[in-house]
Symmetry: C2
Subunit: 163 residues, 2 copies
DNA sequence: GCGGCATGGTTTGTAGTACGAATCAAACTC
DNA sequence: GAGTTTGATTCGTACTACAAACCATGCCGC
């Protein structure tokens, strides 16, 4: 993920937007809360946040190392180390790619799948103490607004990055 | 925790709550997007995410090391190292606490304040590419819902943690 | 006032994470 | 077949995170 310097104001950026600033703050706070939960639950399983993400991605698919690294925005050497440690734990395995002899596929073991599912359930329960403050219709509305703001889930275009 | 289509059985309610699960997934995706932005902009300034948070907290106040560590959920030795590196960069300074000879206060330098303000502005602009997908009223509503869910900003009670 | 205990912070050791450069094997192109 | 590109690993380095040990300061009971 290359750092960029994007200082040009957006077309509407010159106008004061109190809701925009409050929204950014609320999104940041929400992000830290979610990360806090993920870090705490990850620690229970002796897993880092990034390891949790890896396990989450691989729960239902087999992925190439390169694609995994790109999806997570990590250097391939970092990806290699993460998979090393997960493999050592018996959570992941590496395999040959059927179409490219250079490529390495990564997939879950049964033990890894079980741990990922347990951790996922605990993350949901932990976050329910916050989402439970909202009523049912509010939760529905919040979900809609977030999904609208985030765009399609399968598009991994970094936010705020010039293209 | 990347969103998937799998529906896992819930241990607590027993009742399916599609909006609850979708909301957790949306919150997780939102969190990764925000973290991605913070990491990218932090890298521009050669700062880690945690360093950015520290600078954000200290922009308008002078804080004890212990309080800073507690606020961030970090070990005091970690806090010490983070402040070491920021001090070495000329962004922060340590000072004596007027009421407790053991305590060390941390505060911003002018250079640190300038950097923090620049970085903050860039984070806001970067996130505007996502929040700009919403209309004005939608942004207002999203802010309200997030703040309602998160509770008061000054309470640092960890979400989902048994007490 | 003093000893014991607690607190605040630093230092040391360790492991994981992150990136960049170097390296090697496989694939692609001409 | 040679040159280039790609995929992944290894190595070196710095940062982050925690735990244990240590030292200085503060608190409290006697």
């Amino acid at each position: 993920m290359e750092p960029t310097r994007e200082n040009e104001p957006r077309g509407d950026a010159g106008r004061p937007d109190p809701d925009g600033e409050a929204l950014v703050d609320a999104l940041a706070r929400s992000a830290f809360v979610v990360m806090g939960v993920l870090n705490r639950i990850g620690a229970q399983y002796d897993l880092s946040l990034t390891q949790l993400r890896v396990l989450g991605i691989l729960r239902d698919r087999r992925v190439r190392m390169t694609d995994l690294a790109n999806f997570l925005g990590l250097d391939k050497s970092t990806m290699s180390g993460l998979v090393d440690r997960a493999e050592r734990r018996g959570l992941l395995e590496r395999g040959r790619n059927p179409t490219d002899g250079r490529a390495v596929d990564v997939y879950m073991t049964a033990a890894g799948l079980e741990l990922a599912q347990q951790a996922h359930g605990e993350v949901r329960r932990a976050l329910a103490s916050a989402t439970g403050r909202l009523g049912k219709q509010e939760r529905h509305r919040l979900t809609q607004l977030l999904e609208h703001m985030l765009g399609p889930a399968d598009v991994q275009e970094p936010v705020g990055k010039p293209s």
